[in-house]
Amino acid sequence: ACSTQGPASGPAPGPASGAKAGSGGRITMGFAQVGAESGWRTANTKSVQEAAKKAGIELKFSDAQQKQENQIKAIRTFIQQKVDVIAFSPVVESGWDTVLKEAKDAGIPVILTDRAVDTKDTSLYKTFLGSDFVKEGRSAGEWLTAAYANQQGPVNIVELQGTTGSAPANDRKAGFADVIRGDGRFRIVASQSGEFTRAKGKEVMQAFLKSQKDIDVLYAHNDDMALGAIQAIEESGRKPGTDIKVISVDGIKDAFVAMTEGKINVVVECNPLLGDQLMDLAKKVVAGESVPARVETQEGVFPQDKAAAALPSRKY
């Protein structure tokens, strides 16, 4: 006989709160990663894995290969395995209510990293740890308006978008557009997807350089595309950073190297190294302590002049 409401029978899991650190007090964390689609993401994974080891937390890691279905499956297996806490970087903001409710019913607290989820029921997760893509886009825009504060327009901008439809692409585009919208001098003359990769970034930039007469600024949604585009600019006989200003997001080491060579003008950091912060939060959450609903990672904006100083300490 089937009933359609609520867990009628069976081994109903315990209440939603309270520390129940498993055998020997060791905490088990299930971490559902988006994938390994970029160097940034890999750095993020590494940071989590290392921090877990350091903090003495047993990590169950799952890679979703950029598919939400896989992430949901992974969370289900975590519930099945009765982990103490679940953390995950959502592939996409929407569509988590069902599985998070299952986690909640099973009494397993959830921490979001990197991206937030879109839900009305904020009790489904304990806290969010990560960056704000819109803010990154805004920072990029703000740097641009500041840099051109005393100059005449028009400023022709080409934009290399991330994978169409992905959250960072949507948000970085929106944040940037938001800031420059007010200023009539700035015009985005071409905007294409470079799919977050160097090869595509280069290919698209090649085409831009031929189809657009004047390009003053390149805004790339991540460093890889910017690095590819720089090569294209150089091959066309122009100087990146001088003839065409380059703005990029993420802050990988190669980008800092390029900055020291004067090829990138500014990098807006998006920090993947949130492992330690995550483990701290996890311990608190499992122990039943209260945590803030939103924890932002520390991120900066690195213009060219700060690049040389920051380069040696870049970890990813």
Partner: protein
């Protein structure tokens, strides 16, 4: 863009020369795409000399198209044997990762010797991968799509394992030449691809390979009964496909001086298969056309470039591509052409009883 320019000369004649006829339509499609671009950008077709090499959109199309041409070249032979190779994308990634991995740890990455070792390493591993595919298909009789799916899934993991999930950047002038350098005014990659295509065409058509492959693909039972060593032939085409993919992988990674285990060659198998099909080779095996494949690959690359040049917004890019692909395949379909012509003719006499789905075999392969 669909307006078909008059075929040059008598090429569109009675279709007595099979090869010429088969290449006609892909060529026309390519021409139409190029002319369509010209309408929007008047210097689209202009090619200048800059810094001692040719510079222009056409050169870009050739250069970025070169890897696709190579992958599609290998794919053509695989498809001719009724197979399919989904693993080329992974092989592209592995080859790039291996070469860059070797260069980045080598003492003197700038030396030609080191670069050659790196290239040899990549090719050797590709050979093994191709052999694995070939053995699964011919030795165990696994369906090609599953056999190569295995490597498609695992291979990308291997590539990332080699690069440790990072993007490996290399600075090596000789290596950079493969995909980004120039020689005799032309991009080296274009020359390399051209040489490989010519060599393949020469070997395939001058030796009996082409005929044997077409027989095995066209009628496997008959192929067995005339004593063709189908197993060896199958293994050979998968190895060749993997080698082509590896060279393409070297070009792609060399062009950006870095190896990206995750994204290099992503979905290139779909593009390659599309190129083969646009080039007039049927997925059901048998007759193949290397020239058609080259044209098909260039059509696809031109299409991407068109999207960037015309400024089609990313959200509508796919819709745009869909329409172009539909038009391309309609124009290529002899049945469609016959129907259009018939309709136009039918305006004077009474319309003939619906022609239905009559097998216009005579035109398909005439």
């Amino acid at each position: 863009m669909t307006s078909q320019p008059a075929p040059s000369g008598a090429a569109g004649g009675n279709g007595r020369r099979p090869a010429g006829h088969r290449l006609l339509w892909p060529a026309l499609v390519l021409l139409a795409l190029l002319l369509g671009n010209l309408a929007f950008h008047h210097d689209f077709l202009s090619v200048r000399v800059r810094d001692g090499h040719l510079y222009g959109s056409l050169v870009d199309i050739l250069r970025f198209g070169a890897p696709l041409v190579l992958v599609a070249l290998g794919m053509t032979l695989v498809i001719a044997t009724r197979g399919i190779d989904l693993s080329v994308g992974s092989t592209v990634a592995i080859a790039g990762a291996l070469a860059c991995g070797h260069l980045s740890t080598a003492a003197r990455p700038d030396s030609v010797a080191t670069t050659l070792t790196a290239v040899a390493l990549a090719l050797a591993v590709a050979l093994v991968l191709g052999l694995a595919n070939g053995l699964l298909v011919s030795g165990l009789g696994v369906q090609p799509i599953v056999a190569t799916l295995i490597l498609m899934v695992a291979g990308r993991g291997v590539a990332q394992l080699i690069t440790d999930g990072q993007i490996v950047t290399v600075t090596s002038a000789p290596y950079k030449t493969i995909g980004g350098g120039y020689w005799l005014l032309l991009p080296f990659a274009v020359l390399l691809a051209a040489v490989l295509v010519a060599l393949t065409a020469f070997v395939i058509r001058r030796s009996a390979l082409g005929m044997l492959i077409e027989s095995v693909g066209g009628n496997p039972t008959a192929g067995r009964l005339v004593g063709i060593r189908a197993g060896g032939l199958l293994a050979l085409v998968y190895v060749f496909s993997a080698l082509c993919a590896a060279v393409a992988g070297l070009m792609i990674s060399s062009n950006v001086s870095s190896a990206d285990g995750n994204n290099a060659g992503l979905w290139i198998e779909l593009d390659a298969i599309l190129a083969v099909v646009v080039g007039g080779t049927a997925l059901t095996g048998g007759r193949f056309s290397l020239g058609g494949t080259v044209l098909g690959a260039l059509v696809i690359q031109t299409l991407s470039t068109t999207v960037y040049t015309l400024g089609v917004p990313p959200e509508t890019t796919l819709v745009f591509k869909a329409f172009v692909v539909v038009i391309v395949c309609l124009v290529q379909s002899p049945v469609f052409r016959a129907k259009v012509i018939r309709r136009r003719r039918a305006t004077t006499p009474r319309p003939p009883a619906t022609a239905g789905a009559t097998p216009q075999e005579q035109e398909v392969r005439a």
